[in-house]
Each structure stands twice: as structure tokens, then as C-alpha cells.
Symmetry: C2
Subunit: 212 residues, 2 copies
Amino acid sequence: MPRIVDHEQRRRDIARAVWRLLERDGLRGASVRAVVAESGLSSGAIRHYFSTQDDLLRFAGRIIRDEVPDRLLGVLKEPGPDPQERACRLLEELVPLDDRRRTELLVAVALAELERTSPGQDREFIDASHAGLRVLTRLAVLVLVGRAVELTPVDPLEPGLEEAAARLHLLADGVCAQHLFYPGVLTPEDLRASLRDGVEQVGAALGVRPTD
Amino acid sequence: MPRIVDHEQRRRDIARAVWRLLERDGLRGASVRAVVAESGLSSGAIRHYFSTQDDLLRFAGRIIRDEVPDRLLGVLKEPGPDPQERACRLLEELVPLDDRRRTELLVAVALAELERTSPGQDREFIDASHAGLRVLTRLAVLVLVGRAVELTPVDPLEPGLEEAAARLHLLADGVCAQHLFYPGVLTPEDLRASLRDGVEQVGAALGVRPTD
């Protein structure tokens, strides 16, 4: 009788092993060999999904793209205290405030570096990354101005709101950058404060009054 | 008779070779061996300054720190058209709008990565990088509000202005990040437009009216 492999379950097992390694040992510690050891699966089973460090990064990139939307959905479902607070919480899912989010950022940056040095190979990931961030910041703008939130505002909002979404996008990327550019200089609290200050500025430009 | 070596001249020759390589071939192309070939100097002369790829990056980092202030001084000396335009030009010296500035950014990011993975070795560069950006954005704020510009405002400005400097700092880093995170998505014109929009926002918060 042929053995039946639950590919989805196996994929999840491998994904968990990859995350544990990335969070514990960083990019340098996440080799194909380490994933084999960490997951307890056979080398052959692992190599079905990736065989090089670059492929491993791409696999990790796909996990991000699959899991982050669920987290955001969770935040959107929370009966948040006020619009500005909810918008901040959405954006905070994307900035490096804990190990998980720091790892997500490092994987995204590593994939951007792959695409920069070998154009074309990771084009889809990069384009989806930029588009995904913009969808998220559109959601944050809709939350800020108290509009009904559709889950995937993939089309640009009307001009004033789209401009606000672009500003929040630049803000979130700036906060990520300051963590990357100045290791050890800024605490998660510093990053969170910058994000909240920026959201307040964008909200004020949209005529949203902060709740005290 | 002993040979007299003009160390400063040699250092400049090597620096030029390193820059040519970095601009032409990127970080991966800038090996110690490539610098020997590019500079026409002996291997021994090169190895007086650096012997590994990491040391080469540190040498390139020192060149940035030596040369960027001169460029900024040049911008400050220009009789700029209006304060907002001059502030934008200052910040534009730091964002990846051409090969030289893209290379500077890559070197800074590579040194940050070295410090992140081996804490303590490049601490001084990272701290100077954060402090240097803040001095620059303080200059931009002083220019924006029409104040006399001292060349090294190393101490925080008064609260409202220091907050504006922090916002411009985050803005400049965000623009750099969007170039790094989304290779091929944003043009130099996009980056410049984001920077100018952000400067206008900060200026407006300071009560500076844009000149039409």
C-alpha cells in the first residue's frame, strides 16, 4: 500500500521548524541541515520543499505571506478602544517589536537582497510585499477615519486617503529601517513611540481627533 | 635612502578604487583582491589598510564619514531658492538617488548587519551613523525655520524643533528603506517625491509656508 503523505501537515511542521530556527539563531543559523535536525523529518522530505539556503529563505517568505494576514484579521476583529489605537495596532504587526516580527523583517530584507543582486528571481515576492504593505496601510487609513473596512482594499482609495496610506507605508518602513540601520540604539518602545507619533500626524491631517 | 610613502595620498587612491568597485560591482564585487587590481597598488600596500572583506567595508564606511560632511557643507553654502527647497536638498544627500548614494547606503547597511551579528565590533560606526543623521536633520530643521545654521548642532534643539528633526530622520530612513525593501519598484523620482512630501508636512507643522 502506498504511503499517504499529508503534505499540508508536513509543510506546517517544516514551517514551524524554520521559524524556531530563525527566531533562535537568525538567518545564519537557518541552514537546510539545521531544518532537518530541528524538524525530525528526513532530509528527503525537507528537500522536497527546498534544497539551498536561498530556497529556504523563499519558503520562509511564503510562510510570512500566509500567516501575516491572519494576524491582521485578528487585530481587525478586536473591538478596539478607538480608531487611532486600532490603526496603530495594525501597523505594529509589521514592525520589529519582538523576535517573530524581527525575523519576518530579516527574511523580507534578505529576499529583497536576492532580487536586487539577481533580478527577476524573486520579483513576485517583492511586488507582493510592496502591494501587501499598501493594502495594510489602506486598512489602517479606513480604520482611522471610521470607515467600513473591507478585508482587501487592493485598489487605491480616493486621492486624500491614498496619500495618507502612502505616508503610513513610508512610516512603517522607516520604523523597520531604524531598527535595521542602528542595531542596539533604539528600543521596541522607541519604535512604537515613533509609529504612534506618525499615525497621530497622519490622523490630524485627515481631521481625526485623538481620543484622550 | 628610505622610501617616503605619502600615506594620505595612498589612502585617497585606495578609497577611490574602493568606490569605483562598489559603484560598478556592488558589495559582492568589492574584494580585497579586486581592490589590489583596481588600484594598481601592491597587495602589501592594500593590506596595510584592510585584509578581509569586513575590514574593507569598514574602510569604505570611514570614507563615507569623511566625505559626506563635505557634500553637506557644499549644499549649505549654496544660496538656495527657499528654505524648504534647501532642507530637501540637504536630506537628498543621504538618500539613494544615484549610484554613489546607493553604494553609501549598502555599505552602511552591511556595517549595521556586521554589528547586529557580532555586537561591539562596529558599535562606534553605528552610533556615529545615528548621531550624524540626527545632526543633519537638525540642520534641515534650522534651515526650514530660517535660523542661523551652525555647522554641528550636536546637542538637541528645543523640544518642538527636536521633534521635527526626529521626524525628518525617520523620513530619510524610510525613503532609504523603500529603496532597499522593494528593489525595482520605486524610481529615484518616487523617492524624491516622498521626501519632499514629508518635508512639506514637517514644515507645515512648524508653521513654515511653502513658497510657490
